[in-house]
């Protein structure tokens, strides 16, 4: 039996991911995902919705996640060129379920985004992760980003990896 996954293990993963995303090391970030990973941002007005029946802000399978990274790293990705500066603070990390080699994780985040010379845009919400034990390491099988604001409003877009 492998060692049970601890909150410290999960925090290490989330903090490492946050650093890679904030530093725009997106190719390295891709290595943290499983080959069937998915990334969801539900709509503000239906945070509990299902992407098969509800229009999401973003619902990527692994193929589109990889395409998104290609797009984001291109200088032709106008919404993110030059890249936004982001800084995310993650806390209240909890393991809320374990099923075989899968772990469900909840966390809160504040992600500050600075775009050119604008004032800060502050994304606040909850992360829900499905992590998978793959050999000796933990990989991200699903990440769901639930934004607390009632509408995107002045946040504008989710044009970077939130």
């Amino acid at each position: 039996m492998p060692e049970p996954i601890s909150r410290a293990d999960v925090e290490d993963l989330l903090f490492r991911e946050a650093a890679l995303l904030d530093e725009w090391r997106l190719e390295e970030w891709l290595q943290m995902l499983t080959d069937d990973a998915a990334y969801y941002v539900p709509p503000n007005d239906h945070p509990d919705g299902d992407h098969l029946t509800t229009l999401f802000i973003l619902a990527d399978d692994i193929v589109r996640i990889r395409e998104r990274v290609k797009r984001l790293m291109s200088p032709e990705c106008h919404a993110e060129y030059p890249h936004s500066r982001t800084r995310r603070l993650i806390s209240n990390v909890r393991i809320i379920g374990t099923d075989g080699d899968l772990v469900t994780v909840a966390a809160n985040f504040v992600c500050s985004r600075f775009r050119r010379y604008e004032r800060v845009r502050e994304y606040v919400g909850a992360y829900r992760y499905l992590l998978k034990r793959q050999g000796a390491e933990l990989r991200i099988k699903e990440r769901r980003v639930i934004i607390d604001a009632h509408e995107l409003g002045s946040l504008g877009a989710v044009s970077f990896i939130l």
Partner: protein
């Protein structure tokens, strides 16, 4: 003082727009009375009110309204403000209610607008008439095929007459559905853009910008196996597309599709498993509409503008999008997905996935449109020194007008200018 904001010179084949139209607070105030208050303005879709007593609340042109279905099934648009002292009488975004009760003093209105209860009504004497104190409503409220519009102008022509040739293109979108009925899908996209609202009108139909603004989206399409032909004969786009004048300030693009459509134009992104059902969707189209019309529905795409601020994009998916100014330099956008009511769950999922390939705040294209509009607005801070926007593209073209020219943008601006001059 009414004045013109355009130079429209057919001899020089030149069309110029005074950039003051895109930056001025005075222009915005004039637009509120001369454009928005004199037009039909989109409120919502019948499908958002599925059952009797369903309601949604939203702001239409800055005015909070309740869009609701009463107990008998009739649809209403009520100004969301208590006749007593003015508070909102409904604060929920959506739900089901037979009545709306003001939390301040308890005045209660039925969902057909009638004032039903006033606590301590016996204290009122004289002119106080409960029957005359129902929730007020806009001067006009009419629908075309489940799309509901309000007008603040009692003299505005009937909605159907106002829509003119736009009804043909709404019909073409709705022909995707075997029953001719489509519905708004749950999940609204609401976001601000730091740009004048009229720039969104232009952007919604301007196909000239596609190759530059959306090159990463084109790459994504190509990477996924969509064949993108190199433009020929001086064109900027892979396929031919037109700009069509629909009268009364409405216009549309009308393009030969190259990008895949959930209604029966398969691309590899949909997956092999989608093919049998998409073949079946196309077979149904041909059987119901005949081969020509079926081709029109499945193999052409269009972005339609209903003057002044409703856009129906029937491209990678169908989106209904409306936007209102929140200042000369800022607009608020609301966008929904529209799908046939009888669509299977697999087809609906495909439609929503196709939507996200291009549209919306997380799509592969819309954020770059937003960026372009915000860059325009920021550049317009120079308007006093660089006064004129150049919009003559294609002006000398005979016959069919191209989607990648600016014919349709000029239609908008001529109509807008005419209404601003009329005062």
């Amino acid at each position: 003082m009414p004045r013109s904001y355009i130079v429209d010179d057919p001899v020089k084949q030149q069309f110029l727009l005074d950039r003051e139209a895109l930056v001025s607070q005075t222009v915005l105030e004039d637009e509120r009375s001369r454009i928005f208050a004199k037009s039909w303005v989109y409120v919502g879709h019948s499908s958002e009110l599925k059952k009797p007593n369903d309601f949604v609340t939203r702001r239409v042109g800055g005015r909070p309204v309740i869009f609701c279905r009463d107990g008998k099934g009739e649809i209403h648009c009520l100004f969301n403000t208590c006749r007593h002292r003015g508070a909102l009488v409904c604060t929920e975004p959506e739900g089901s209610r037979r009545s709306f009760r003001c939390i301040y003093h308890g005045w209660t209105y039925r969902n057909d607008g009638q004032l039903a209860g006033v606590p301590g009504a016996e204290a009122y004497r004289g002119e106080f008439d409960k029957n005359a104190l129902g929730l007020r409503r806009p001067a006009r409220f009419e629908a075309y095929r489940d799309f509901w519009f309000l007008s603040l102008d009692p003299e505005v022509p009937a909605l159907r007459d106002y829509l003119g040739g736009a009804t043909d293109y709404i019909d073409l979108v709705l022909d995707q559905s075997p029953s001719g009925r489509m519905e708004i899908v749950a999940g609204a996209q609401e976001y601000d853009v730091g740009a004048n609202w009229k720039l969104m009108v232009e952007n919604s139909v301007d196909d000239y910008h596609l190759p530059t603004t959306h090159s990463t989206w084109l790459n994504y399409m190509a990477n996924s196996g969509v064949k993108i032909e190199t433009p020929k004969d001086g064109m900027v786009l892979p396929t031919r597309g037109l700009a069509v004048d629909l009268g009364n300030g409405h216009f549309t693009t009308d393009n030969i599709n190259f990008r895949g459509r959930p209604v029966a134009a398969w691309i590899p992104i949909y997956g092999e498993e989608a093919k049998p059902e998409m073949d079946e969707i196309r077979r149904e189209l041909v059987e119901r509409l005949g081969p020509d019309r079926a081709k029109r529905v499945a193999d052409t795409n269009r972005n339609l503008v209903i003057f002044p601020n409703l856009v129906i994009n029937d491209g990678s998916s169908v989106t209904v999008r409306t936007f209102f100014p929140e200042g000369p330099n800022k607009m608020h956008v609301t966008a929904w997905a529209l799908g046939p009511v009888e669509e299977s769950q697999a087809a609906r999922a495909r439609r929503l996935d196709a939507f996200l390939t291009f549209y919306g705040p997380g799509g592969f294209a819309t954020p770059d449109d937003v960026e372009a509009l915000e860059l325009v607005q920021q550049g317009l801070a120079n308007w006093q020194d660089v006064r004129w926007t150049e919009m003559s593209r294609g002006m000398g073209r005979e016959g069919d007008q191209l989607n990648s020219d600016e014919h349709h943008l000029r239609i908008f601006w001529r109509r807008w200018n005419q209404m601003m001059e009329a005062g």
